[in-house]
Symmetry: C2
Subunit: 87 residues, 2 copies
C-alpha cells in the first residue's frame, strides 16, 4: 500500500511536465513561464542524473531522464524566445 | 563530493518553483501555464508527503513540504483564473 503511494507520487511528479511541454511546444508562448525556474529545474535534474549514474541507482536515473526529456524543451523554447527578444 | 551533488540537486529542484510562484502571484497571468501539470504535480507532491510521513523520512517530508509551499499557490491562481472564466 505505502509502496503504491510512492510509485503514484513518482509517476505523477515525473510526468507532470509532459502536459506543460506539449502546451509550450504547441503555442511557443512563454511570457508567463519563469526562465529562472526552468534553469534551476534543468540543472537540478541534470545533477540528480549524475548522482544516479555515479551511484548506479536505476530509479533515480530513469525518473530524472524522463523528467529532463519533458523539462528541457520548455527551457529551450523559453530561452530562444528570450534571446530572440520576443518577450 | 557525490553527496554535495545530491544536495545541490535537491536544493535546485525544490526551490526552482519559487521564482515561478513569485511571477505568478505578481502577474496573476496563467494562460500559458498548464493546469494539468500543476494538478499532477501538487497531487504527486502530496503523495510524496504522505509517503515521507508514514515512513518517518525527514528528507522527503522537508523537501516536499517546501515544494508544495511554492507549487500550491501556482495551482490556486491558475485554478481561480480558469473557474472565473478569465482564460
Amino acid at each position: 500500500m505505502l509502496e503504491n503511494i510512492g510509485y503514484l507520487a513518482a509517476v505523477l511528479t515525473t510526468f507532470s511536465f509532459l502536459p506543460q511541454a506539449v502546451l509550450t511546444l504547441r503555442t511557443r508562448k512563454t511570457d508567463e513561464i519563469s526562465l529562472i525556474m526552468y534553469l534551476m529545474l534543468n540543472v537540478g535534474i541534470a545533477c540528480w542524473l549524475v548522482y544516479g549514474l555515479v551511484r548506479d541507482d536505476l530509479a533515480i536515473i530513469l525518473a530524472n531522464s524522463v523528467t529532463l526529456l519533458f523539462s528541457l524543451p520548455i527551457l529551450l523554447v523559453k530561452g530562444s524566445n528570450k534571446l530572440a527578444g520576443r518577450e
